[in-house]
């Protein structure tokens, strides 16, 4: 199966998968970098986004509406979760934070199952992006190409928010040194709430973008969560550019390995992560701050 056409196609697959992982991971990484909370419910946020988008699509019939409504809904879920629960865990040991987010993940997944059942739901891609595109070297689903574009735009927006706005500056400063931000007289809690919301929204957004590709079911976020961790660790915890590079690397590793032996693709991912950690303690672009 190893030939040029196939190799290029697989690189392309890796790009699409990697871009998606990059969005989800950037959400996870800014939450962890700013709040110091490793959000084990992040996969559930991804899933919630898919369901919110599907519901919005069912009522409106518009993919754009689904995208907007779904993202905002998950952001709201994130903000409320932070305000009601996560906030009380900042002063507690990290393992308590892991546990509570893990528990919340179960509640979200099983709550969705309770209301919508276990059968998977399909959100069709917008009419504009249906069908297949001939790329010359291969045929590729048009929507996946579009998804690549949508994700790229989303990453640019996130970049703009993080690097060009006051909130973004504060968030990034908080990742470097949360004590300093505290002493600047900024209401840290408000920032934390917002960051959790934005991070959750990134996952939810990815969930909607992914819904026409992979039909959604309550468990859809579970597998993606572990991959997201790997991305964050490879890229460097707390680093937004790291999440993007890590996402693309992970996507390519999975795709290219599967050309030779699909069964090994995830193992290679973990091997790569372990290698990175042994050789570069804080990930490719991470700083020594957080452990």
């Amino acid at each position: 199966m190893v030939n040029w056409a196939n190799f290029i196609s697989q690189c392309f697959n890796g790009l699409v998968l990697g871009a998606l992982l990059a969005v989800i991971s950037s959400g996870l990484t800014i939450i962890y970098g700013t709040l110091g909370v490793l959000n084990l419910a992040h996969g559930a946020m991804f899933m919630l986004g898919g369901y919110a988008g599907w519901l919005a699509y069912t009522y409106s019939g518009s993919f754009i509406v689904a995208l907007a409504a779904g993202s905002l809904f998950v952001m709201l879920v994130g903000v409320v979760t932070e305000r009601l629960i996560i906030r009380h865990f900042y002063s507690r040991p990290p393992e308590d934070q892991l546990l509570v987010t893990f528990g919340l993940g179960i509640v979200f997944v099983e709550g969705v199952r309770f209301f919508f059942g276990s059968l998977s739901k399909t959100t069709p891609p917008p009419a504009l992006f249906q069908g297949i595109t001939d790329l010359g070297f291969m045929f590729y689903p048009t929507y996946r190409l579009a998804a690549l574009g949508i994700v790229a735009i989303a990453l640019l927006v996130l970049y703009y928010v993080l690097y060009k706005t006051r909130i973004g500056m504060i968030v990034r400063a908080g990742i470097e040194d949360s004590v300093m931000v505290d002493s600047l007289g900024i209401d840290v809690y408000k920032i934390f709430m917002l960051v959790f919301g934005i991070g959750a929204m990134a996952a939810g957004f990815a969930g909607i973008v992914n819904a026409p590709v992979v039909s959604i079911a309550p468990d859809v976020g579970e597998a993606i969560l572990v991959q997201t961790f790997v991305v964050v660790v490879i890229g460097g915890v707390g680093s937004f550019p790291g999440a993007i590079i890590g996402g693309l690397i992970a996507g390519e590793i999975i795709s290219i390995t599967s050309m030779f032996n699909p069964a090994y693709s995830y193992v290679m991912l973990f091997v790569a992560m372990t290698l990175v950690l042994v050789l570069r303690p804080h990930g490719l672009l991470g700083t020594a701050g957080r452990e």
């Binding site: 546990l99 919340l104 179960i106 199952r113 790997v230 973990f270 992560m273 372990t274």
Partner: protein
């Protein structure tokens, strides 16, 4: 309490294990659920040593659970081996070996990275079990046909083939596992594990090879886990591939957290609650598919409202009850240290023999104890120290001053080998220590007290001092897992002596977190002293103290200076000049001038470059 009644916990546990089959069924526990709780509890003991005691949160226990269980199951189903206990121990050993290899990789990192590496490695193990080794492990089908436990006695073989007889078998091994763990946590190693949890850097600086201890406890946890895996196979007659899944690792973390980490019993209690809820929601309340939703909600509530797990909650209740009962008695010891502190100089002078207990070399030797030549440290483009030549004689008291950013702390860090110099050479007592580790030089008798307190906050003063003293008494690494702390010769004397030196004798059993700031500062110096250093570096020992505390501490330092070699950094020049014989002035990373306090005071360069500029700061 444990000291006075050494077997209380063991005896109570034995009674509870014997009573359990008569009591628990009435509470709705089925025999198999009870057996399962024991298996998870046993696995949890190992995990608690790793997580609760040492602070290493591993999400990779499934690898050892599966490996130990699969190996034992394979031996019993595919080879002529019939002795289940032999198979269990073989599985345990294999899990231990695997644990050692995994530990070599995973323990290179800490915190979240450590957790992630363990996840990744466990996932790889799952894959290996599922695919390449499926011929041996049965792939997704697991290994069926594992026999129930037996005990070969030579003349006859006892079969543990009913639920309750298996309970006897499991309870026995749980008890053995618990007794071993209790011995371990009461041993010097047990204390060092908690030291690693609270402050790994300081534990290392006090002369302990913490990597070695971490690896040891990682292997021990892997062995407990592997043994429990073997028991699972025998209990079910089937070794499931699920044992390798992430869910297994997750469950043990959950159960330990529900029960309470750092208690050894937490995981057992957590397992009981978790499995009981499982049964209750599904088979008693018949919630169908929504059982997991309810379980999730219950779990989130438990985590929100129980801060240290069930054992923690029970302990809090107990403390509340006892505090009310003997509240009057509790109040008494509190004011005592305040009195002591204000009259500090007096008892210090009363100490008859302030000489260090261990290494007395410093006293009789003469000449240079420390020579540093051409020491340079660069951080990227920034030069923190450049080309420093520095020597100290035996028995000397040396002061180092310099404005902020002069590179004093970096210089100290190089001398204690916390950071390697970019170039240059350090010779301590005739030995080149330039490339040694911080624990090695501490073992040689060179240690430091820190500018910012580096204490073991959750431990008592006695335990803090013990951690320091053990470095000298036991060497950098020793696996005396079954020796009790009180069995370490010379430990109690050393603690007592150091405590009286730093005037904390009355506070020996107080947790560090309850000490006043001045007391913590004294303990900080005490930790360094308890290692019996021949060269003691003190990094701003007077930092943050009130004038009254400074007077006392200076007196303290004077008294411990007899027969020791010390180098002191401080900003309080009046106090420093009173203490030391010679002063080295650092400026912008290099030596500006050296001389007696008088010479320094009158040196024009110093006055110009240093004293004039930072008058305000010194006030």
């Amino acid at each position: 309490m444990l000291r006075q009644r050494p077997f209380l916990v063991e005896i109570l546990t034995a009674i509870a294990l014997i009573a359990a089959p008569f009591v628990l069924p009435y509470l709705g526990f089925t025999p198999t659920t009870i057996n399962r709780i024991l298996i998870w509890g046993l696995l949890g003991i190992g995990f608690d040593l790793l997580f609760g005691y040492t602070g290493l949160l591993s999400f990779g226990q499934s690898a050892f659970f599966g490996t130990g269980g699969m190996f034992a199951a394979y031996m019993l189903t595919e080879t002529p081996l019939e002795n289940t206990i032999v198979a269990l121990f073989l599985g345990t050993i294999v899990a231990g070996i695997i644990g050692y290899l995994v530990g070599l990789i995973a323990l290179r990192r800490t915190g979240i990275y450590f957790a992630m590496i363990t996840v990744a490695i466990a996932e790889v193990f799952f894959f290996v079990e599922f695919n390449p080794l499926s011929e041996y492990t049965g792939g997704e089908n697991g290994l069926p046909g594992v026999p129930t436990p037996n005990l070969e006695l030579g003349f006859t073989t006892i079969q543990f083939d009913s639920n309750w007889s298996m309970y006897v078998f499991f309870a026995f091994w749980y008890f053995v596992g618990l007794v071993i763990a209790l011995r371990l946590v009461r041993s010097p190693v047990g204390l060092l594990l908690r030291a690693i949890r609270d402050n790994p850097l300081r534990a290392e600086a006090l002369g302990h090879n913490i990597h070695g201890y971490k690896l040891a406890v990682f292997v021990i946890a892997a062995m407990y886990t592997g043994f429990a895996g073997g028991l699972l196979g025998m209990m079910q007659g089937f070794m499931p591939p699920d044992a390798f899944m992430f869910a297994t690792s997750g469950e043990i973390v959950i159960q330990t957290a529900i029960g309470g980490a750092g208690t050894l019993f937490g995981p057992l209690l957590g397992a009981a609650v978790w499995l009981y809820l499982n049964d209750l929601l599904q088979t008693t309340l018949h919630l169908g598919a929504s059982w997991k939703l309810v379980l999730g909600i219950v779990f989130v509530l438990l985590v929100c409202f129980l801060r240290r797990g069930l054992v923690g909650a029970i302990a809090d209740l107990y403390h509340m009850a006892t505090r009310e009962k003997d509240g009057a008695r509790k109040v008494e010891p509190a004011p005592a240290p305040a009195v002591m502190a204000s009259s500090a100089p007096a008892p210090v002078r009363a100490v008859p023999d302030p000489a260090p207990a261990g290494r007395n070399r410093a006293i009789d030797k003469s000449g240079q104890i420390l020579q540093a030549t051409g020491l340079t440290k660069r951080y990227g483009g920034v030069v923190a120290n450049s080309d420093i030549d520095f020597t100290v004689d035996y028995g000397e008291m040396r002061g180092i001053i310099g404005p902020n950013g002069a590179g004093k702390s970096t210089f100290f860090k190089m001398l204690t080998c916390e950071v390697p110099p970019s170039s240059g050479k350090i010779v301590f007592e005739g030995r080149d220590i330039t490339s040694m580790g911080v624990n090695d030089v501490c073992q040689l008798g060179l240690t430091k007290s820190y500018q910012i307190n580096q204490l073991f906050e959750r431990l008592t003063v006695r335990e803090n001092l013990a951690i320091a003293a053990l470095g000298e008494l036991r060497g950098r690494f020793k696996l005396d897992l079954f020796r009790s702390l009180s069995g370490v010769p010379g430990l109690d004397e050393q603690i007592a002596k150091t405590a009286s030196l730093v005037n904390l004798t009355a506070r020996l059993n107080t947790p560090v977190s309850e000490l006043a700031y001045g007391e913590k500062r004294r303990l900080e110096v005490g930790l360094a002293l308890a290692t019996s250093p021949s060269l003691l570096l003190l990094d701003e020992p007077l930092a943050g103290m009130s004038p009254q505390e400074r007077v006392e501490t200076v007196a303290l330092l004077k008294s411990i200076a007899q027969g020791r070699t010390m180098i002191i950094i401080d900003h309080d020049m009046d106090s420093l000049f009173e203490l030391v014989e010679n002063v080295t002035v650092l400026q912008e990373g290099s030596v500006l001038v050296e001389g007696t306090p008088e010479e320094i005071k009158n040196n024009a360069k110093v006055q110009e470059a240093y004293l004039g500029g930072v008058q305000g700061e010194m006030a």
